[in-house]
Amino acid sequence: MTAQDSPRHLGGTSRRRFLATTGALGSVAALAACGGATGGGSGGGGEELVGVGNNGKAGSGRSGDGADQLFIAGFQWSPPTNFNTFAGSPAWPASGNVAQYIYETLLRFHIVSGELLPGLAASHEVNGNESISLTLQDGITWHDGSELTVDDVLYTFELGKIDPGLGIASFWTEVDEMTAEGNTLNVAINAERKNVGAVLATLAQQYIVPKAVFEKAAEETGNKVASWETDEAMGTGPFTLELADQTQIILARHDDYWGKDFYGGLPAMSKIIHPIFKSNEDGNIKFQNGELDVMQQFVPQISKMWEAGKPVGTYLREEPYFVPSSMPMFLMNTTKPGLDDPAVRKALAYAVDYASIAETAMSGYSSQVLASLVIPDGAEDQWLDRDKAEADGWAFDAVKAAELLEEAGYEKGSDGFYAKDGEKLGPWKLITPQGWTDWNAALEIVAKNFQDIGVDATTNFPQEAQTTSAIQNGDFDMACWYVAGTNPAAPWQRFSDVMSNVDMAPLGETAYRNFSRWENGEINDLLETAAAAPDDESKKEAIAALDDLYRSEVPAFPLMYRPDEFFEFNASNWSNWPTEDNDYAPPMFRGAGNEWIFQLKKIGD
């Protein structure tokens, strides 16, 4: 499948900037400026609807069975086989960190404000960088009516110790101990690592599972919980799994949901249906026609849909339409001659035409890229020193790129490529998985830009598995790859992903971070300081120090920003979608995005 269902994340643009670049869509903006729409159907007759298409339009509602159902797509691409949330690739919505319709998390991350909102935990308190305490909500029940207790929560995290092969096992490298007292949980953070952000990120992403069910599973499988197969999923969420077959997954509303009072009612839809498509095109056409209400599939030029009068909308009315929250990185293997020179890496960063990538490869869904590992928007903006990034950073300037190479002692040979001491810059291969179309197109542009300044580069798109192992083993020249997106641990997590020298794997062995294999003496100390920063002031300082080092060494650079999830809706049947003007919930399915499922309003009622 294409790039969008892979675990990529990305990051952003400033809102100021899109407001400044609205010329082309002026007319649409003018239409949209009224902010509301009149329901096409009968209903209140002229009643103002909010949270509708970017053109201000709304549909008139479906009739028949579909009227009370919500159709969603973009999360499941193959027939669902296993609903064990700990398995390798569980079916939606049991797969980790997606919409919390069946399973729920303790905390919920808000991608725009950066806040951690209550989930199963009514409140949480961070005590410096020593511990976190959480208090559970009252009266949480599982779908079978039994009560959720602190034991369930403790057991969920204990599973990481029972089966060290599970992802949750990494929780215990950051945490020393987790204890309960009444309804309150206390998490003692590892005294050496002091990485509060990473712990909060896990607390906001880990689904809480019923101890009774998974104890049995662990017993059956000899503690290999990941290998357990089940077609049932019992959680605490507002929906239960009703049916899953080759063509669709159907969730039914759980009328005894514990959170009725917390959310002020039950969701309006009686069912959520996720049809399983073979390709993006199938889903995109259904979405355009209003047969899907909301999805997270990549749609090139989504603006054409609302320009054609469809009630299609996105969180932001203007480009880039989606809130930037992940940052596909251009990695350079610093063990290769030429690429081991920071001056060359910086020159390459100057050579890339970022605007072209944003405009064509990304369909305009990316804002201007800044020379920083902090995403200049949303939750991360507070950690960014924008002036410094603009002053010391790079931007597209082919002349400057060539100058930098010449300053560093490189000379253009008769073949048109730069070389120094007989060592030619290239030929280098730019890799990324075949079928991740936006990244493929971005690398085509980068390769051309490099050729233009006199660096020999061509693209090569192997299969995803091959690309992954090439990048992890250091068997590549240059690559486009993902690093941590916006989450409670960002931007620290991203600095660690790109630059950390902790547990450096030698070439040929699997590395899990710093794929550029960039070596530096100071970085580990800087990362530790930033992770353990006791307050926001010192954290900002530490992040700024990391960003300075990053800009002087350029071990990798961002090509564009992407949304964490593409959040696209069609207001044919439901209104009150979250948008910039109706921002009661963030444009996300996971985490704090759970809010909007309770607030959607049926058009025509």
Binding site: N280, E281, Q301, K304, Q434, N440
Partner: protein, 359 residues
């Protein structure tokens, strides 16, 4: 596939006043020539077209208009410029792959057909095995394992996977030519194997080779398009297939950007149709039996041949010699027919009977 039939011997046996007329180019030939020339000119026009295929002149899928006759593609490049460059790439790949495939096929076929015996069994055994493996699968596997794919490596890969049918057909022809008397003469006069193959066998099947080459070229262009559409095309070069690949990847069909995918599709259709038609009409030129034309021309030709035959008969009483030579030729035709699954009377027999009727 159609066959050659020959007959250089016959042509000389019935000499005609006007050599050009004897080619008897049909309307089909001229149509195919126009198509092929059009595509070649389109490819060459890219060399003088002011916009380069890598120049960003617009945004994602700008509609045609405003100096861009075919709009822009997903990179914001001028579709017409990319189309010209792509046509050139496709033609180069087609020609190179066609040369490679025809060279290998003809060499294997000539050797197998002429030498015969266990050597023939061996070569044809290998050929049949290669023929049994679907070429596209081999192509995909080789292209994926190539560290870097350029238009030259791609052409080579296509060439070395598409020769077997040429080899089989050429073998059939060569083994028939090998039994002719002039081969014995050559052998007696001390000619060596390469000399005999090149000077005494190849010329007799040259017409067939030319047609096989034309088919190989069009096949290679389509193979390149198929590979490139799967994303295995040459990196850093535009081709018709890679244009289709990107328009699929960026959902040009769904977003109504017809200018991104229709032009390469049309050029591909034209190029393969043009080459196939060219092959078919060349067949007519080389094979008198397949000649078509206006009824009047046919009648004229028949009358002319009848007259020529009569003259020959009058002048020459040693008709038995002629018959011997003609029998020889019919052997070869039989072999060729076998190779091409084409049934029907051997042309020289029909020629002869037709020529005989009026008398």
């Amino acid at each position: 596939m159609s066959t050659v039939n020959t007959p250089m011997a016959e042509e000389t046996a019935a000499p005609r006043a006007n050599t050009l007329r004897s080619f008897n180019f049909s309307g089909r030939f001229w149509v195919s020539l126009v198509l092929v020339v059009f595509v070649i000119v389109l490819g060459l026009a890219g060399l003088v077209y002011p916009t380069g295929p890598g120049e960003k002149v617009g945004s994602l899928y700008d509609a045609p208009g405003g100096g861009l006759p075919l709009g822009t593609d997903n990179f914001g490049h001028d579709v017409l410029a990319v189309l010209m460059a792509g046509t050139r790439t496709s033609l180069i790949i087609g020609l190179v792959a066609g040369v490679v495939a025809t060279t290998i096929g003809v060499t294997v076929g000539l050797l197998a057909g002429y030498v015969g015996g266990w050597f023939e069994e061996l070569l044809m055994g290998v050929t049949n095995v290669v023929l049994a493996i679907p070429a596209i699968v081999v192509l995909i596997l080789i292209s994926m394992s190539l560290p870097n794919s350029t238009i030259w490596s791609l052409a080579l890969v296509i060439g070395i996977t598409s020769w077997p049918w040429t080899a089989r057909a050429v073998r059939a022809q060569a083994s028939s030519v090998a039994t002719r008397e002039h081969i014995d003469v050559a052998r007696l006069s001390g000619a060596r194997l390469p000399g005999i193959l090149l000077k005494d066998v190849l010329p007799y099947i040259l017409s067939y080779t030319v047609m096989a080459f034309v088919l190989q070229v069009s096949g290679a262009i389509l193979a390149e398009a198929a590979l490139s559409m799967l994303g295995l095309g040459p990196s850093g070069a535009d081709s018709l297939g890679s244009q289709l690949h990107w328009s699929l990847a960026f959902q040009a069909v769904a977003s109504g950007a017809w200018w991104a995918f229709l032009p390469p599709t049309i050029v591909l259709t034209l190029v393969s149709f043009g080459f196939l038609l060219l092959q078919a009409s060349l067949d007519e030129v080389f094979n008198p039996r397949l000649r078509r034309g206006k009824r009047k021309q046919m009648k004229q030709a028949a009358a002319r041949r009848a007259a020529e035959a009569r003259q020959l008969l009058e002048r020459n009483d040693e008709a038995s010699d002629e018959t011997g030579a003609a029998d020889e030729a019919s052997d070869e035709t039989g072999a060729a027919d076998e190779a091409s699954d084409e049934a029907g009377p051997a042309p020289d027999h029909s020629e002869r009977s037709r020529a005989g009727e009026p008398s």
